[in-house]
Each structure stands twice: as structure tokens, then as C-alpha cells.
């Protein structure tokens, strides 16, 4: 009896899956600023949707029944919410584009990789780490070049026509008023905070894979050069979770080295400017406050003004329209606001269950918890695809996990340095 064609031998990483996943992560780094003509639909979203279609047709991916069911329920109910909104809400603001974009962005979360073995996971995460490391090096280089006296320029703006660049983001800005040093966006980043987040994820990957401390230091330096707390937040939450798992035994060396590096770093100007941001949440108008406090303060009274608003929501995209009307730069819409303000409690709960379930069954608890916390507290994590992508790449597509969590059964030195040879029949 011949082995059925297409079934992998389970002793090694499935190379096509590894290649495919690393390519997606590379695309999230390199293509994040590009858009289709008009500057609204990111090229990255189109590329990932096309890649998922390819993966479905070639058997690299399949639909996950549970997530697909939850998605259909959430998408159906949020679309149907227009009926009670029209009937009960005074002048609802319903944007078909907003609903469509939301559902398109989260459609890939209904998929799962077919080959989710531990070997495949380690090989894929390892490949992604190298891309993250390259991003970290670029972030550090950008800072060093500026410190050497070469002023910041945006090379993409010279090469790509403006209508093919994603609009509405602050690509970078000086680290403080009057400074000629700009926050590092590694030249390719949509915002320093997004690069910081990607580097934070890379740092966690490095810890999970027990990579060389030197490489991790480079990634950490990259985060510092972005002067953004997004990556620090991800790393801190992730490390905190790891400390509650059996993985802590292999983590102490990193923690001690990291603490020493942190103390040294806080003596530098870059470290000090990052450190000052730790308490900025208390300041009205600060970036953190505009992400985590002020959106609630502004939209809560409007949401609770009428019980119908609470039940059915004010319409897809209404929170964005109202926030845009404030003309407050940097005022973002956190995920809970987006879900419940726009769609109300009835459809919003279905949507929230789907979104939360996308983190369930992940192969790494620290990655799942840190990305979830970031998306639901700090980031506009439901509608910005470049922020959703890490969740898909490192959490959702690997769920339900095929093996024990990495934190429970940590990667051995041998696994980290010499991945098993793939045998694909």
C-alpha cells in the first residue's frame, strides 16, 4: 500500500508551510505602506487574501469549522444589525465599506494550517525571527545614520507614487519637539509604533526559540529606536506570561541580561525618552491616553444616551466617523469600542466571541496573551490589517495546536539550532 500522496511524514517540518508562512511575515514587514490606487485598501491585505486562496487550493490550509461557524454568525448578525439600527436608532451612520473591510480583514482567521506539527512551527517561527531581526537592524541603522548627521528622508516617497501609499498614518516624527532625530520606522514602517510591535513579537519569538542573547539585544535596541511603547508592552506581557509557565527555568538568563541592558539603556537619551512614555497614560492628549482612555471618555456618553444604541449599536463605522469629526490627531478606536459602539451588545457579543476565539488554542500562550492584550487595549487592533497579521501568523493559523504549548514543553537547544530534516512524500 503506497503512502497517500500529499500526506507528510511527521518527523520533520513541512517545508512548503514554513516557506509560505515566512513569506507572509516578510510581506507584513515590507508591504505595510503600500496600497491599491486611492490609498485606502492596503496591498498587504490583498496579498494575504491571495496567499490564503493559494494555500487553500494547494492543501496548505483548510477551514477551521469552529472559527468558520463563529465568523459566519458574527458576520451575519453584524450585517443584520442594520435592520434594528434603521428601525430604532435615530439617524444611524452605517458604512457598508467599514463592515466589508472588517469582515474581509478577519476572513483569513477562519483558516488553519494543515501541517501544524511542532517541527513545522519551530522552523516557521525561526524564519520569521530572522526577518524580525533584519527589521530591528534596519531600525537601529536608521537611528545611527541620523545621529551621524544625515537627515531623515523617506525613500519610499521618492520611489512610490503618493496614491499607492497607505494614507492616514504618521510615518514618523521627531523624537521630541525641535529634535532633528526622527523615530525609527526602519524606512518601511507605516508608523514607529507598528515597527515596535513587530519587533516586540520578534523578541518573544527569540525567547521562545532560545535564540542568541546578542540577536535579542539587537531587536531590543530596534524597539528603543522606535521610541514607541507598543513593542515594550508586547514583550513585557509575553515575558510575564512565560514566568508563570515551566519555561521560566530557561528564561532567567535572558531576564537577568535584559534587566542589566534595560538599566544601561535608561541612561541613554533614547532610553530616557522611551522611559518617559511609561507614565504618559495619565496625561490628556498623550499617545497612550488617546489610544486607551480618551476614546471611551468621548464615545461612552453617546453610546449610552439611548438604550437602543447600547442594544443595536450606532452603525458600522459610526465610531470612526464620530472620532474623525473631533479633528483630534491620534485619537484611535480600540477594539471594544469598535465592536460594541458600532454593532451594539447583541451582534457585538457574537463578534467579540469570534475575535477572542481567534486566540484560543494557540501554540504559544505568551504570544496569544500579549497580542490579545495589545489588540484589545492599545491598538486599533480589529481594522488595521498590519496589526491583525501577527495574530494570524503566530496564533490563529496554528490553532487548534497540534502539540503541547511551547512554554510547557520549551524548545531544546538541539531543536533550536538543528531543525529536523523534512521528509515530504
Amino acid at each position: 500500500m503506497p503512502a497517500p500522496s500529499g500526506n507528510p511524514t511527521r518527523t520533520g517540518a513541512h517545508r512548503p508551510t514554513v516557506r509560505w508562512l515566512i513569506s507572509i511575515f516578510a510581506a507584513t514587514i515590507l508591504l505595510q505602506r503600500l496600497s491599491l490606487p486611492g490609498g485606502i485598501i492596503p496591498v498587504l491585505l490583498v496579498v494575504v487574501i491571495a496567499a490564503c486562496a493559494y494555500a487553500l487550493l494547494t492543501g496548505l490550509m483548510e477551514f477551521d469549522r469552529t472559527r468558520l461557524s463563529l465568523y459566519l454568525l458574527a458576520a451575519g448578525l453584524t450585517a443584520f444589525a442594520v435592520v434594528p439600527q434603521v428601525l430604532f436608532i435615530r439617524d444611524p451612520l452605517v458604512s457598508l465599506t467599514s463592515w466589508g473591510l472588517f469582515m474581509t480583514i478577519w476572513a483569513p482567521a477562519t483558516l488553519a494550517l494543515v501541517h501544524r506539527s511542532r517541527e513545522t512551527l519551530i522552523a516557521a517561527f525561526r524564519g520569521c525571527f530572522w526577518w524580525g531581526l533584519a527589521l530591528g537592524i534596519a531600525a537601529v541603522l536608521m537611528r545611527l545614520i541620523q545621529m551621524a548627521g544625515v537627515p531623515y528622508v523617506d525613500p519610499l516617497a521618492f520611489v512610490v507614487p503618493p496614491n499607492l501609499l497607505v494614507q492616514g498614518y504618521v510615518i514618523t516624527y521627531p523624537i521630541e519637539y525641535g529634535s532633528e532625530i526622527y523615530r525609527s520606522n526602519a524606512w518601511v514602517g507605516l508608523e514607529p509604533s507598528i515597527i515596535s510591535l513587530q519587533l516586540g513579537v520578534t523578541l518573544l519569538l527569540g525567547l521562545l526559540l532560545r535564540m542568541n542573547v546578542g540577536w535579542l539585544a539587537v531587536v531590543a535596541a530596534g524597539i528603543v529606536c522606535t521610541v514607541s511603547g507598543s513593542g515594550v508592552f508586547i514583550a513585557l506581557i509575553g515575558v510575564a506570561v512565560m514566568l508563570f509557565t515551566p519555561m521560566r527555568r530557561s528564561l532567567w538568563g535572558y531576564v537577568i541580561a535584559g534587566s542589566v541592558a534595560l538599566v544601561l539603556l535608561l541612561q541613554t537619551p533614547a532610553g530616557q525618552s522611551l522611559g518617559r512614555r511609561a507614565t504618559e497614560i495619565t496625561l490628556s492628549g498623550s499617545s497612550t491616553s488617546l489610544r486607551a482612555i480618551e476614546p471611551y471618555r468621548y464615545l461612552w456618553p453617546q453610546w449610552t444616551a439611548d438604550p437602543h444604541n447600547v442594544l443595536f449599536g450606532l452603525g458600522a463605522g459610526s465610531s470612526q466617523k464620530l472620532v474623525d469629526a473631533t479633528n483630534r490627531a491620534g485619537l484611535l478606536i480600540p477594539s471594544p469600542v469598535k465592536v460594541f459602539f458600532d454593532y451594539g451588545v447583541v451582534a457585538g457579543i457574537a463578534l467579540a466571541i469570534f475575535l477572542v476565539y481567534c486566540y484560543y488554542g494557540a501554540p504559544s500562550l505568551s504570544l496569544a496573551v500579549s497580542l490579545f492584550t495589545s489588540a484589545w487595549i492599545l491598538q486599533p487592533g480589529t481594522t488595521t490589517f498590519v496589526l491583525v497579521a501577527p495574530t494570524l501568523i503566530f496564533v490563529t493559523w496554528w490553532a487548534p495546536r497540534a502539540a503541547e504549548r511551547i512554554e510547557v514543553e520549551p524548545v531544546t537547544r538541539l531543536e533550536a539550532t538543528r531543525p529536523k530534516v523534512e521528509v515530504h512524500l
Binding site: 500526506n7 483548510e62 469549522r65 459566519l72 454568525l73 448578525l77 443584520f80 439617524d91 488553519a112
Partner: protein
């Protein structure tokens, strides 16, 4: 050949999903139509119109003061006293009018939108216009009152004070008169600082347009119907009608799925000395076994069919290429087949052996490579029953064949 999802109870291939949707076209169509009707009905039933009057507030001495004046005016425009008076004039309830009218500052300007939403276009225009008129009248009344207060105070000052010298008195009166006039002007300016920049000449439709309601309704109907179709496919008690149903039954072990003719082709290509056709139903497995045998013979492979029959004796010829063997002889026959002796003894290239799924046959399945193993599943078998069969013969990496 289709492979059921490899070792994943949650997985669903794109082919299965498309098949599922195709089998439920009626359900999806009905769901979509219901959604369209719901969207259409809601947007048609609830026609709302809005009319907006744009009010301009005179700027103050600086940006901060202007902003304060604009915010104050926005509040006063829809204050209870204004709404109550306007409601009385319009002949509607105050609470109703209050819910219909809003005032919103246009960000970064000194303009205020006073909007009224109503079921008819004319009542929206009337409501917005009336509220603004009442508010402006209120402003004017208050400014007149303020001006007259200043005038009265000045008159009293002029009347009550006196000087000995006539010229001094004239100068004093002239000076006080000038101050009073200036105060009156300032009082009027401070109060009457609001005017209509753009009246509400007509109303416009608000809320959700009919196309958007229809599109979202259709999407909702389709998505919910898809969910119903998907959840129906999870029912393990449903009968197997299609290859996709069989694929779902075989999902746990990554069982391969085939039609009878393609299974025969697979047996031919494999060129093994024995083809084992297993199955719970005797007629179904024999039907598949005969299909395979016939196909192989037509393609030039000398093939014998050995049917395991309850209570039959040692191997016994029953036809030109068919033999029968008792179920207690299965061990012997399979052992001979494995050693390639049986095909030689029967003077054929391949033996197609048709047997029930039992402990005896299963004992020979693990790790063997002399057989191609098929499991014949009768159309109409319940998914759970097929799963039970697959579980028993999993060691043989069988190919499941949907058989009529």
C-alpha cells in the same frame, strides 16, 4: 482522489465547503432573499428626513472666547425653554421635539448645525426653522432687555446727579451719555451675536439608504444560511449521500475517498497481488469487489474474486473467476495471499478478496503492503456508522468508496 482532512476534527477543505454550499443552494437562496426583504422592508418602513439650519456665532476677541461663545450658543439653541416654546408653536410634544433636534458645532469653525429629523420632509424643515427662530427671538429679547437695563441705569445717573455750574453739568451729561451709548452697544453685541448663516430650505433623506439596506440584508441572510448549512453537516446521524459526506466521516484518520470506478483504477495502478474489499454490508462490498474485478479484467489483469461467506467451507470455486471461502478460513486465505501463493494457485495475477470487517481480517492489516484495501460504504449509511467502520480498519490506510 480526495483526502479527508488529515488528523484534524476541525478541518474542512475548500472542496468540501464548496460542495456543502452547492448542496444547500436552495437554503442559501431562501436565506438571501429573506435578508434582502428584511433590509428592503426596514429601509422602506423607516423613512427619515433631516433639515439643517446653519447658525453663525459672531467671533469673540480671541479664539478661546469664540470657542466658549460657540459652545454656549450650541447649548442654548436646544435648551428646554427654546424647545418648549417651539413645541408649543408647532403643536407637538416637547419631549418628541427634543429627541428630534440636535445642535452640533462644526469643528474648527464658529458655525453650528441645528438639525431636525422627522418622518416627513416638511416637518423636519419646520422643526429646524422653528427652533432656530425661537432661539434667535430669545436672544433678541434678552439683548433688548439688557440694553434697556443699561439705558435705564444711565437715565437714572443723568437725572439724579447735578453740578453747581451749568457748563460742568452739560459736560458731565454729555460724557455719561457717551458711556451709556457705548454700554448699550456692547450689551447688544454681547447678546445678539447669533444669526442664521444658511436656512433650511429643504430636507434630505437620512439614515440608511435602500441599496445599503438591501446589500447588508442579503449578506446577513447568506451568511446565516451558510452557518445553518454548515451546522447541518456536523450532524453525525445524517445519511451519507455524497463524497463530501463520506469525506467528513473519514476526517479523523485522513481516509482517502473515491468513487467505485476510480477505486478500480487505483487498484489497477497499484499492481498488488491482492485487493481487499471490506465493508459492513455484504451486498455492497460484493458489488464493489465485482466492479473492481471487472475493471481489472477489462484492462488485461487476470483477476479472481474470493468472497468470504459465513459458514462456507474451504476455498471453493463458484464461477469462472469466482471462489467462495468460509469465514473461519479467512486467516489461512489471507496468509496465502500475502505470500503470493493464492494468485498462483488460482492462476491469476490478482485476487480481489471480499470480506466483512472483523477482528480476523483486521489482524492482517497493520503494516502490510501486499494489499490495496477498500472500505465499501453504502450510500445512505449514517456518518457515525461509517466512522465506526473506518476506526476498525484504520491500520490498513484504507480507501473509502461510496457504493450504491
Amino acid at each position: 482522489m480526495t483526502t479527508a482532512t488529515h488528523g484534524n476534527d476541525h478541518g474542512l477543505s475548500i472542496r468540501s465547503l464548496v460542495g456543502l454550499l452547492r448542496r444547500n443552494v436552495l437554503l442559501l437562496t431562501v436565506g438571501t432573499l429573506i435578508g434582502i426583504l428584511a433590509g428592503l422592508g426596514a429601509t422602506s418602513l423607516n423613512r427619515q428626513y433631516a433639515a439643517t439650519v446653519i447658525v453663525e456665532v459672531a467671533p469673540g476677541s480671541d479664539v478661546g472666547q469664540t470657542s466658549t461663545l460657540v459652545q454656549s450658543a450650541a447649548s442654548v439653541l436646544v435648551s428646554p425653554i427654546v424647545i418648549d416654546t417651539a413645541a408649543k408653536d408647532l403643536g407637538v410634544d416637547s419631549s418628541t421635539l427634543s429627541a428630534e433636534v440636535t445642535s452640533t458645532v462644526q469643528a474648527g469653525t464658529n458655525l453650528i448645525n441645528v438639525s431636525a429629523v422627522s418622518d416627513s420632509d416638511q416637518s423636519a424643515v419646520d422643526a429646524a426653522t422653528k427652533v432656530v427662530n425661537v432661539a434667535l427671538n430669545d436672544y433678541r429679547a434678552r439683548s433688548q432687555e439688557r440694553a434697556s437695563q443699561v439705558r435705564d441705569a444711565g437715565s437714572e445717573l443723568l437725572a439724579n446727579g447735578s453740578l453747581d455750574q451749568t457748563r460742568a453739568e452739560a459736560a458731565r451729561q454729555s460724557s455719561i451719555g457717551s458711556v451709556v451709548g457705548s454700554s448699550q452697544g456692547q450689551a447688544i453685541q454681547d447678546t445678539v451675536s447669533v444669526s442664521v448663516a444658511s436656512p433650511a430650505l429643504s430636507a434630505y433623506r437620512v439614515g440608511v439608504s435602500r441599496p445599503i439596506g438591501v446589500i447588508l440584508g442579503a449578506a446577513a441572510g447568506f451568511l446565516i444560511a451558510s452557518l445553518v448549512a454548515l451546522s447541518r453537516s456536523w450532524n453525525r446521524r445524517r445519511p451519507i449521500k455524497t463524497l463530501s459526506d463520506l469525506e467528513y466521516a473519514g476526517r479523523m484518520g485522513g481516509v482517502l475517498i473515491e468513487t467505485p470506478l476510480r477505486a478500480a483504477g487505483h487498484a489497477l495502478n497499484a499492481a498488488k497481488p491482492a485487493v481487499l474489499v471490506l465493508g459492513a454490508d455484504p451486498a455492497t462490498r460484493e458489488s464493489l469487489a465485482r466492479t473492481v474485478m471487472t475493471s481489472m479484467q477489462e484492462n488485461g489483469t487476470h483477476t479472481a474474486l474470493v468472497v468470504v461467506t459465513e459458514n462456507a467451507g474451504p476455498i471453493d470455486r463458484t464461477g469462472e473467476y469466482t471462489w467462495e471461502v468460509g469465514d473461519d478460513q479467512v486467516n489461512t486465505v489471507m496468509s496465502r495471499a500475502r505470500r503470493r501463493r493464492l494468485p498462483d494457485e488460482l492462476d491469476v495475477n490478482t485476487v480481489v478478496m471480499c470480506a466483512p470487517i472483523s477482528g480476523q481480517t483486521n489482524a492482517y492489516l497493520a503494516g502490510q503492503d501486499d494489499y490495496v484495501a477498500f472500505v465499501a460504504v453504502k450510500r445512505g449509511t449514517r456518518v457515525a456508522a461509517a466512522e465506526d467502520q473506518f476506526r476498525l480498519v484504520m491500520a490498513a490506510d484504507p480507501i473509502a468508496v461510496l457504493t450504491d
